[in-house]
Symmetry: C2
């Protein structure tokens, strides 16, 4: 693999706002349920511009599964390119790294990965792209089974998720009956709703996804109910009109296909569960499975891991 093959010089990253972006998650451990702030982080102009552009030129609704835009997008002025190969020195990766996060709000570990990546997108030289997908489809296609089906693992996961959520400062509230609750609740509607927003108003994807997680994993709300989907949309900042319009879209072939394609794309990248983080460097996509490989990812792209709750750059 030649150094820098196929990559264009990286345009400068847009400057961070001053004063530094506030951390999005202000969950106070001691205050627990209900006090976690829903404050949304400002959207990143670069990423949003790309998403809107893609939606506008229709390439994302093509029937073939779109590859992540590297050369093409860069040529078209998209701000990220694949990071060139490391030159052997620690920390010496040039260019911005596209990091795609494939997730389903049914997955609590995906929430952890989502929040940490949302924090690091303002610190690391990465462009984060949200890829709402359908975990059920991934499990079916790969033959994977929910990890909690093994009783001893279920016992452990309960503890692990609690401890990780506390350490990551993400208000997952989980108890023993949650695995059953989760298996009995479909998130297909919610994921189609997020997908529809991703296709039309992608600036809401982050806040909307967070809102679904809050309702499903913090407040134990049944997010398969239409009323709750609409309430989540409004809480995420959508107007009633937009929420209603989006709801009408979720049974359309365009939205269904887009969710299916994104799921298929995750599988092509090697995903067998979620979260699936796909980082593009050395001219290739690299899969990192789980919410616990971000330190490893950082080490490879030359970025420093500052723990799950890093302070934004000054």
């Amino acid at each position: 693999m030649e150094k820098g093959t196929g990559s264009l010089p990286a345009p400068p990253k847009p400057p961070l706002r001053t004063p530094p972006l506030p951390l999005k998650l202000r969950f106070k451990r001691e205050e627990a349920k209900g006090t976690w702030s829903r404050d949304r982080a400002p959207t990143e102009p670069s990423l949003r511009a790309y998403e809107l552009k893609t939606a506008a030129d229709g390439s994302r609704s093509a029937s073939t599964v779109p590859r992540p835009p590297r050369g093409g997008a860069a040529a078209a002025g998209a701000p990220w390119v694949a990071a060139p190969e490391r030159d052997g020195t620690e920390g010496a990766v040039m260019g911005r790294t596209l990091v795609e996060l494939f997730y389903d709000v049914v997955s609590p570990y995906s929430w952890l990965g989502f929040e940490v990546l949302c924090r690091y997108q303002h610190i690391w030289n990465i462009d984060l792209r949200f890829r709402p997908a359908f975990l059920g489809g991934i499990m079916q296609a790969t033959g994977n089974k929910p990890p909690a089906m093994l009783p001893k693992r279920a016992e452990y996961l309960l503890k692990d998720i609690k401890r990780m959520a506390k350490y990551y400062q993400v208000p997952v509230h989980i108890s023993g009956d949650d695995f059953k609750r989760v298996l009995g609740t479909g998130t297909l509607g919610a994921m189609r709703f997020i997908t529809a927003i991703d296709m039309t108003q992608p600036q809401y994807v982050e806040s909307l996804s967070r809102e679904f997680w809050l309702r499903f994993w913090s407040q134990r709300e049944d997010i398969s109910q239409t009323a709750n989907i609409l309430a989540a949309a409004r809480q995420a900042g959508l107007s009633s009109e937009l929420a209603q319009k989006t709801l009408e879209m979720i049974s359309s072939p365009a939205v269904k296909n887009r969710l299916k394609e994104t799921t298929e794309e995750a599988i092509k990248y090697g995903a067998f569960g979620m979260p699936a983080v796909v980082a593009h460097f050395n001219g290739e996509p690299h899969l990192f499975f789980g919410s616990d490989r971000l330190e490893l990812l950082g080490s490879i792209i030359g970025e420093k891991w500052l723990g799950p709750v890093p302070s934004p750059k000054m």
Copy 2:
């Protein structure tokens, strides 16, 4: 749970040697196979003293599965006690934390966890106790299956282990046919050999375990062969006489039972795979599964994660 219930005041930790202990692992990435140093870290007098004492009083060969010695061992002068409950301030855990590592040299992730804990035992306020066990027994008892049996996961694990090994600076050399090789090689003999040494000359457990991993996971040697077990023993510093004597022990009921008991103990703690790290704090054992939960463990016991290759304290 009351603060500090059942714990004795922690005796001072023996001072670290000056100059600081050399890092055990001097693997130079660029020099790859064969150049990784087998240098052993100095043994920790406190831990060794405990191990020898246990072996001497015979408690470990009791037919019931022994609980980890907390009150009893502390009363008998063992240097570690369960860490009392946190007082709410970050980093404020008093006392030393006993950390047990259950492992089998068949598991490459166990090797990663082993090396990182060997490094942190000189940095964190912990006492590390090696618990050689048998992964096959854990899998059978819990109904767990080797993760690589799912083809997509096997593909991923190959990449993940390679990347993690590089980042952790542990010379695992893995390729596509290794999963088959591993399933076809029994480590029961090796684990019985390590168990026998743990019962008689525990100061060799660390170097011997490392030697088996090096042979099995770095040099692809068949460690089920008696000749290779003896060669590993000699490389780990055992005299020919001790190696031969230990070999004769491995078919004895005492050794077989001890390995079985350790394995059962891991299962009682909730293990369903390896490595299984069991840390004792707040008067209870807490299971951490995998080599990727040590940052989380540190955060709970008030110790700072410094990455997988930390510098020892000055």
